[in-house]
Amino acid sequence: MKTGKQLVNWLDTVLREFEGVQLRHSGRTRLRVDVGADALPALLELLQGLGSYVHLSAISCVDWIDDDEFELVYHVWSYELLSLVSAHIRIAREPGTYLSIYDLYKPAAFFERDIHEMFGVFFEGSPDMEKFILTEWDGPPPMRKEFDTRKFVHDTFGWQDYNPQWLQALKDRGGGIVK
């Protein structure tokens, strides 16, 4: 019977079998794994099946617009080893498609749908890629870095002068709203 520490060491050894994998421990309970996009499903299957990482805590997406890439981070937790693995992959911003991991982790449905809606990444095999939060938004995916919120507001909405009587009285006394 392996102890928790032995299991983690064993897992390190197994993970190093993946081509090009990079491991970085931080603290007792955190492990960052950088791996090629092709190898991620196999890595997660191994983590879940052999390492008991059964809880998908989150999938995070980061837009690295200067590199023309999206970074997808899969955070999985093991209730037995009490450790969190964050598996990082990079995919091209265009066409921005990747494989769903719904078959392995059911909670992926929410995170993949959210990333599709906010960043425009399409996950093949995900059960529902329909809009969820921005049902009536027909602009570009708003979390992409090129979407400028302030510009959108300036272009879309008109400005109204706000100068009620009480504010005018304040201005007359040398006060006003701090800009």
């Binding site: 995070s60 955070h75 909670p107 939060i133």
Partner: protein, 380 residues
């Protein structure tokens, strides 16, 4: 809500009806909708409908200084805002390599547990109201208000405290605060027998919630259930104990569990957590006079504070389950990316859609409330 998207559509004759529970409905917490299909009073399909509270927090945070975002994050979950600001602050501290003073850690635990108490009292009121028991709702809200008085005393804000800054908390406790805290804990503990008689041993409540919205531990794990909802399925996991942060590893508390995985179990787990939070707060009140030192560490000028490039994934146990922040810095004075992982993103969508199917129409509101889902956490 554009009218052209909601025109009546002619359907073939059927025994099924489509009903919208929400977005404004007494049986749902916040603006959120569950579109259900019923045959008779039996639910045969359910689809969550979110977006009514979307304010674009994650995008807004990318355009504000690290420090400014403290004012934004508590608004992501109205009933339990403290874990939001503390989880975010922990993320920034991890990125910036800040050492949190010990006294600030104890003060944060106090804020977190007071917030948990307030959220659970709010929850008891809400879940009781779905069964027509309004006395419990008024009691819960009134007792929660006493906790908000304490928040006002030591943070300045009743709901959105904004008490934390990366590196610590804003100010020291006012004079005689610990005396007020002790008196409130005594009062809340004395109220529990009243709550037990009124609600937790109420025959109507027991009959309505036993077996309602049940899930097995296996299903809970598959659907990503966390927090009290997972503990109601028999798994004694709590981030505070099993992946500790702040000074939780120095505190003694139990992790209450139930085994049935139904609405009743979810309610009872929270009822027992109330006692554990009181127990933790008593330890904090006893310890604080012996922990000297500053309440925050020195930080650079917050208006020109470039955080080194890197990433952090911090987790805390909120009153609803596992709350996590993924913060990424590209070396600038604003976050490059902040991803908020709220427990309700599972509980209010996938879990609710699954549990509603097969339930009776009159039980749907109880299932929603018993999961303690927080819609703004889904929308962000």
């Amino acid at each position: 809500m554009r009218p052209e998207n909601y025109q009546a559509v002619s359907q073939p004759p059927s025994h099924e009806f489509e009903l919208n529970i929400g977005p404004n409905h007494p049986g749902i917490e916040g603006n959120y909708a569950l579109k259900i299909k019923v045959e008779g009073d039996m639910v045969v399909a359910a689809k969550a409908d979110a977006g009514y509270l979307h304010r674009g927090f994650e995008k807004l945070m990318e355009g504000r200084l690290w420090m400014q975002n403290i004012a934004l994050v508590p608004r992501i979950c109205v009933p339990d805002p403290a874990p939001m600001e503390i989880c975010y602050a922990l993320g920034v501290e991890a990125l910036g390599g800040l050492q949190l003073p010990e006294r600030a850690q104890w003060l944060r635990v106090m804020q977190l547990e007071l917030s948990r108490l307030a959220a659970h009292l709010f929850y008891f009121g809400g879940v009781a109201a779905t069964m027509g028991m309004y006395s419990n709702m008024f009691w819960g809200v009134a007792d929660r208000d006493l906790i908000l008085d304490l928040f006002e005393a030591f943070t300045g804000g009743r709901v959105y405290s904004m008490y934390n800054v990366p590196g610590g908390v804003r100010r020291e406790l006012p004079d005689d605060f610990l005396g007020r805290l002790g008196a409130l804990l005594d009062y809340l503990e004395s109220r529990l027998p009243d709550y037990d008689r009124l609600f937790f041993s109420n025959y109507v409540m027991l009959q309505r919630t036993r077996g309602t919205g049940s899930m097995t531990q296996q299903q809970a794990l598959e659907w990503g259930v966390t927090g009290p909802n997972l503990r109601a399925c028999g798994l004694a996991f709590d981030v505070r104990r099993d992946d500790p942060y702040l000074v939780y590893d120095q505190l003694e508390f139990d992790v209450p569990t139930e085994t049935a995985g139904d609405a009743l179990s979810r309610i009872l787990v929270r009822r027992n957590e109330l006692l554990q939070s009181i127990r933790i707060l008593r330890q904090v009140a006893a310890q604080l006079p012996h922990v000297a030192g500053p309440v925050r560490c020195p930080i650079p000028n917050p208006l020109a504070w470039n955080i080194p490039p890197g990433e952090s994934y911090t987790r805390v146990e909120s009153s609803k389950g596992e709350l996590a922040y993924y913060c990424v810095s590209s070396g600038g004075d604003m976050p490059w990316r902040v991803h908020v992982r709220g427990p309700s993103q599972m509980h209010a969508v996938q879990v609710l859609e699954n549990l509603a199917v097969g339930a009776r129409l009159e039980d749907v509101a109880q299932i929603i409330f018993s999961l303690d889902a927080c819609p703004p956490e889904v929308d962000r």
